[in-house]
Amino acid sequence: MSNELPFEQPLTELRNKIEELKRFTAEKGIDVSEEINHLEAKAAQLEEEIYSNLTPWQRLQIARHAKRPTTLDYINRIFTHFIEVHGDRLYGDDPAIVAGVAKLDGRPVTVVGHQKGKDTKENIARNFGMPHPEGYRKALRAMQQAHKFKRPIICFIDTPGAYPGKEAEERGQSEAIARNLQEMARFEVPIICIVTGEGGSGGALALGVGNHIYMLENAVYSVISPEGAASILWKDASLAQQAAEQMKITSYDLYQFGIVDKIIPEPRGGAHRNVDEQAQEIKKALLEGLKTLDQMDGPALTHHRFEKFKAIGQFGVALDEEQA
């Protein structure tokens, strides 16, 4: 099974054994139900052990899972009437970001998100969800329209990061990200951002300045990938696992820091195990969130967003007698 992650292997083996015994029972007519019951209890226990104690590294594997649902998977399940818009009107259309209008329970909203592929071919077309400047500018265009037509903005975040390429630099990757950060602070409509998979650094944050920020339980959000951190800090990318533990990248960590407002639970084993169920959980969170934010008018929403980000950070005060 290609779906399975290394740490899930013992469970899969046990499950296979149970299947084998069941088949044996059916074929030979010998009753081994006692053994089967025993093993099933053991499997349940093992499942509990594995999934209730996921390490940050294991969550990262789930967040990056090849079968992890993508933004379009969620859009198709959560919204109706989705109409995709293309292009930044300046240079091109970036397939690594999707944007459009849709209805959420009958209410018009603007939706933008990073888009990874479902297989290698699509991933190459989508550039593995790593946007170029035109992707961010397309997202900005869609969000400016949301501001104009007074509809909420929903952002789905799932990217390893902004693309580190020659053309991306030439066309102003820095400026594109920076512009989104500034403009997102301005829109007088509710903005809800959901990290569904990988929240990779500035490339993620460029769709991340929301009134509310939610994370799926196994999603990660970090300033740099654990591989990058290990290679820069310890000059050794193989220490990525250690970096993942150190960097505090899980939904629980970000909730503790006061960055994330809500952790959206995932089906046992990860969102890919039941995409419909996951989509419903997200929809529920969105509807609840909008209900709260609807109580604020435009200026109150931008004020709320500014105050949210202003409060993020940790520092101390050291008084010094000599400096003037």
């Binding site: 902004a162 693309y163 580190p164 390429g165 020659k166 991306a168 630099e169 030439e170 066309r171 102003g172 990757q173 820095s174 400026e175 990200i177 920076a178 512009r179 950060l181 500034q182 403009e183 997102m184 602070a185 301005r186 650094s201 500035g202 944050l205 460029a206 991340g208 300045v209 959000y221 970090s222 300033v223 740099i224 951190a229 820069i232 800090l233 150190q246 960097m247 505090k248 990248i249 960590d253 970000l254 820091f257 960055i259 967003r305 500014f306 980000f309 202003k310 993020i312 950070g313 940790q314 520092f315 101390g316 005060v317 050291a318 008084l319 010094d320 400096q323």
Partner: protein, 297 residues
């Protein structure tokens, strides 16, 4: 034999004797990192730390920058008491901070405050790359945000001299969020119709380049400054090609439409003063806009 014509002559490198070394006091001369020419440090300082041979702009300390930019004695510092903590319990982070504090006399990687340029009041932020490569953590984010809020209150223009390796990894996602925090503050400044000038100096990369440093009403840079989002090595590894030598230099960015001007350090103060003059409130009677100026220099 023909071979004998080419006698082996060994060359020995000459190492100056201990005595000779002592003859030149430490720091009297400075060698240019670009062309290798040697200048009297005093002369170099007079040249605002620009190599008179090749024009290389030496990196400046934050205090040197403040001194050469603002009117003498006009600087008043904000929030100098803010210091970093260790939110991720990152190994050796506190030790490294302490080392840099001792080495630089700074408490963090940015100095903020207010002062005057040829009489025009400004709020100023200056990053110092000697301190943790001027990486942006919670303190840098908080100090710049507060400085921008001061500018909003006083209706002063803001000038930020950036120089940074990017977000500070030891503070993890908290440092990432500082990008949004400062940019949101700059949005307020923008909406209030106030001027923001970003001066990008060597090097301005990563999260700083991808936030406040790129958001100026005017984006200026010093010649030769390295400016970019992703690191050169990362890009080369990703696209598997060599990049041109001038890639991500100030001149490269100017060519690609990302900067308004590349300004030589010798002209920078005048340049800034001109911009401030243009953006001063000209509806008031002549002279009043500069209120309480200290005389032109």
């Amino acid at each position: 034999m023909l071979k004998d014509l080419f006698s082996k002559r060994r060359k020995y490198a000459t190492i100056p004797s201990e005595q000779a070394k002592k003859d030149i006091p430490e720091g009297l001369m400075t060698k240019c990192k670009s062309c290798g020419s040697i200048t009297y440090s005093k002369e170099l300082k007079k040249q605002l730390m620009v190599c008179s041979n090749c024009g290389f702009h030496f990196p400046l300390t934050a205090w040197e920058r403040i001194e050469m930019t603002l009117d003498e004695g006009s600087f008043y510092q904000y929030d100098q008491e803010l210091v970093s903590q260790n939110p991720l319990n990152f190994p050796e982070y506190m030790e490294k901070l302490e080392q840099d504090m001792k080495r630089t006399g700074l408490k963090e990687a940015v100095i903020t405050g207010e002062g005057r340029i040829k009489g025009y009041p400004v709020v100023i932020g200056v990053m110092d790359s000697r301190f943790r490569m001027a990486s942006m953590g919670s303190v840098v984010g908080e100090k710049l945000t507060r400085a921008i809020e001061q500018a909003l209150e006083k209706r002063y223009p803001v000038i930020i001299f950036s120089a940074s390796g990017g977000a500070r990894m030891q503070e993890g996602v908290l440092s990432l969020m500082q990008m949004a925090k400062i940019s949101a503050a700059l949005n307020k400044l923008d909406q209030a119709g106030l001027l923001y000038i970003s001066v990008l100096t060597n090097p301005t990369t990563g999260g700083v380049s991808a936030s406040f440093a790129s958001l100026g009403d005017y984006n200026l840079a010093e010649p030769g400054a390295l400016i970019g989002f992703a690191g050169r090595r990362v890009i080369e590894q990703t696209i598997r090609q060599k990049l041109p030598d001038d890639f991500q230099t100030a001149e490269f960015l100017l060519k690609h439409g990302q900067l308004d001007q590349v300004v030589h350090r010798h002209e920078l103060r005048d340049f800034l003063a001109n911009l401030l003059e243009i953006h001063a409130d000209h509806r008031q009677p002549a002279g009043a806009a500069k209120g309480g100026m200290q005389g032109e220099q």
